[in-house]
Amino acid sequence: MRYDSITEVIGNTPLVRIAPQVHGLRHIDLYAKLEMLNPFGSVKDRAAWNMARPHLAADEGQRTVVELSSGNTAKALAVIAGMHGLPFKSVTNRMKVPEIKDLLLLLGAEIEELPGQAECLDPTNTEDPLTQIHQMLSADGPAYVHTDQYYNPLNVEAHRTSTGPEIITDLGAAPDFFIAAVGTAGSSTGSAQALRAHDPNVRVIGLVAHKSDFIPGIRNIDEVHEVGLFDPATYDTIESVSADEAIDGTLTLVRRCGMLAGPTGGAAYFGAVKHLQTIDEQLTDRRTAVFIVCDRVESYMSYIRKRRPELLRRPPRTNSVATLTQAELAAAPTIDVISARTWMAECRPLVVDLRGAMAFGALHIPGSVNIVDEIFAELLHGGLPFGRSQPVLLTCPVGEQSARYAALLTRMGHTDVRSLTGGIIAWRDAGAPLGRD
């Protein structure tokens, strides 16, 4: 297929059936609307393009596109703004997913993180920062285009005119159930409007996050009330999903369905199956259900690593201090400051300072070399970086980390390594010489 612009690729995403043996529903055909296959990677491409386009067409001069977003809308807007030579600024109350932050910076976006809540209550501060920024940007001025995704009807329209109708065309009818996670409420509201216009009996299930949990792209039950596009009447039911369940759903999609969905899509899958299970038991005829896979999994590796580290299990590293036993640690060869100075004068051991480069630059034992702990760990992973009998004195701030590495070197067969007891701090306190470059 040939296109003149990448923005023409937005939409017309595939609707793929989930194999019945995966979800276990006997009477319901469950389909995934693969919004992650949009060109910039998510369902937000549609809304971003629809909201930004009117401002790009008119000759409005150099203006900065601004959005309150810490995720996919920011990503799509950054690309679209960049293509049209406009700067983009993402304002966010917290960038919770570091990969997205880096990606936005790579795309040329500017990110502003809003301050955290004050520790001491300031009674004069009656407005939340989000609302303040909202007011600042909404005030008419030449400098900003505020796409305003939480309030902009063009967000809903994007889905009413594309996402919803695509589902009807692909199925030849509206599905019996439509399940969507609620973020800006744009995709669920817009799609639901199109589906209900075709068949008023469509049941719409909105999914929110458990209150104490965080699932990227989904608001919790309180936060949805802050969304201008959110109308409780859109949904027949609102149910909540935990972060753990979202990751479980993601696992099923990535491991069994070949759909590399992120946690938002995982939450939608999990919430869909959970909701449909009880209905399925009562059914005798066939029904269809559609849920939205919002985006891809790759950007959420740190999110998954933090919550479910066991899923990213790797074989234990060789030559790692983490594998040392208590006995090995207790037997680590050490030397105190006075003996170390004698030893240095007599045997001229290689003195390795494991501290950071900045600390080393400020103050260090004359003649020592700086191999920062992380790099030293990498070196040892490959093997001994010096001869087995080369005398080595290891130092760190207080002698704790150097003792661990001395124990590890001993295990690796080194015969003449010692850790400076009490570290650089003991060295300084004993009045031994320290130099600066």
Partner: protein
């Protein structure tokens, strides 16, 4: 009535034990009047220990300064003087109080806005001065020179730190020298080398945001090198306070309450507050706007744990843990906890004067105190009081009741809290309502004599051989034992 929405306070063993001694509390209030403040000096020593454990675990050296402004109590300050704690004072009066309570000048730091008299006494006695601005430096230098005082030890407080990568915004502060003016400040410090000695750099950000604090701390580490390059040799980074307190026992209660408050503001449930006050939230066409102007009362990551979490964060651009950077650069860490050090350190008692139902079915409980005597509401902390019935009264089996707590001022607005407070049963005149965990800012920070109403007396309570004993706050000294029987 709707289902009770409790916000039960988090009580550790000492406060639990005190609140269990009904006779003792009623005797105290009977003898000394209502309201009455009770502080627990031994608790502050325990709290100090928990902060010190964070230092020990991370091999850091440094000092813990108690931010005196959290409570005016003598007992708490004197008890702390008997430990290895230091103290942060923010007025001439606090400085005199600290010196008179047993803190030697080398354990005191002067912060905040300072009068010339305050600066003179600080410099004369040799306490460390945490300088707010270049102007304050000049005033101090003039005082030291004119009165031929020994060189003053100073820290400089900085603000408006830059971030790398994403811009991390912080609320602007009225305190401190902006980082971009630091170089000029160093010029002045070099010039005045004979009269002031720079021992460190400081900041305090009024935020619960860890990212902002990590950004500021990393900037300070870099600025220490700038000082060293100028031949100055500061060795301290002071990160201020703001470690917070976890006030509530149960996260589910807090989450339910905040959800229901949103629902009440949106009109989808009966009000939870007097005249459906939204604590900053409002209903605009069915959408919730504004901000919840409340302290996050359930806050598991608070106090020493918050400090530990901050120290474990990776520095945003140097990509090493902040604790490691402090340690390997041989910097000392100063902290200035206030609220977090007096966590669980006190309780305010008030007598119930009247219990009255109005025609609308609302129940008012009038207390012998007013809102300024326990300024929880002013500070946005929502936490239930504990009802301590008269010892001679058998508790009625009325079941839970939602009441509005009103004060003793002839003033419409004198609600102890605008929230409907749920009590396990209907109180009676003569019962006590106790407001636990109020030693940090809620006890004597705002109390005044409006309408000639009395302000609370303050007593120190301590356990002696398993029994609770007390003395007037001003009579407490660390050697106090068995002063007055209960």
């Amino acid at each position: 009535m709707t289902a009770p929405l409790y916000l039960a306070p988090r009580l550790e063993h000492r406060l639990t034990s005190l609140l269990g001694t009904k006779g003792f509390l009623h005797q105290l209030a009977g003898a000394l009047g209502s309201p009455l403040n009770v502080v627990l000096p031994d608790q502050i020593a325990d709290n100090l220990r928990r902060f010190q454990e964070v230092y020990e675990r991370r091999n850091l050296s440094g000092k813990v300064y108690f931010a005196h402004k959290a409570n005016r109590s003598s007992a708490l300050v004197r008890r702390l003087a008997d430990t290895c704690a230091h103290i942060d004072i923010a007025s001439l009066g606090e400085l005199r109080h600290a010196l008179g309570s047993g803190f030697s000048p080398d354990r005191i730091m002067a912060t905040g806005p300072k009068s010339p008299e305050f600066l003179w006494l600080a410099a004369r006695t040799g306490v460390t001065v945490n300088l707010d601005s270049a102007d304050e430096l000049e005033t101090l230098v003039a005082i030291v020179t004119k009165h031929q005082l020994p060189p003053a030890r100073v820290l400089v407080r900085l603000s408006e730190f830059d971030s790398t990568g994403a811009t991390v915004l912080s609320r602007r502060s009225r305190f401190g020298t902006p980082v971009d003016a630091f170089s000029r400040l160093l010029d002045a410090l070099e010039r005045h080398r004979d009269t002031v000695r720079l021992t460190g750099i400081a900041h305090h950000l009024d935020t619960i945001g860890l990212t902002e604090k990590a950004t500021a701390l990393e900037s300070c580490i870099a600025l220490m090198h700038e000082c060293a390059a100028r031949g100055l040799s500061p060795h301290v980074i002071d990160i201020g306070g703001g470690f917070g307190v976890n006030y509530l026992a149960d996260s589910a209660q807090w989450e339910t309450f905040t959800s229901e408050l949103s629902n009440a503001v949106l009109g989808s449930r009966p009000p939870l507050t007097w005249r459906n006050h939204g604590y900053g939230l409002r209903n605009e066409g069915g959408t919730l706007r504004g901000a919840l102007g409340l302290y996050p009362a359930h806050r598991p990551l608070a106090g020493p744990r918050y400090l530990d979490e901050l120290l474990g964060l990776q520095a945003p651009s140097l990509s090493r843990p902040l604790a490691t950077l402090l340690l390997e650069n041989l910097h000392e860490l100063y902290i200035e906890p206030g609220r977090a050090l007096v966590d669980q350190c006190g309780v305010v008692l008030a007598r119930v004067l009247e219990v009255r139902d109005n025609a609308g079915g609302e129940c008012f409980v009038r207390l012998e105190m007013n809102a300024s005597d326990v300024s929880l509401e002013e500070h946005g902390v929502l936490m239930d009081p504990v009802l301590v019935p008269r010892p001679d009264r058998t508790c009625p089996s009325t079941g839970p009741v939602g009441v509005y707590l009103i004060g003793n001022l002839c003033l419409e607005a004198d609600f102890i809290t605008r929230r409907m407070v749920f009590l396990p049963h209907r109180p009676s005149p003569g019962d006590l309502l106790t407001f636990p965990n109020t030693a940090g800012y809620f006890m004597d920070f705002s109390a005044d004599h409006a309408l000639h109403q009395p302000i609370a007396r303050k007593v120190a309570a301590y356990q002696d051989g398993g029994r609770w004993r007390w003395c007037l706050d001003e009579n407490y000294w660390p050697i106090t034992s068995g002063s007055e029987d209960c």
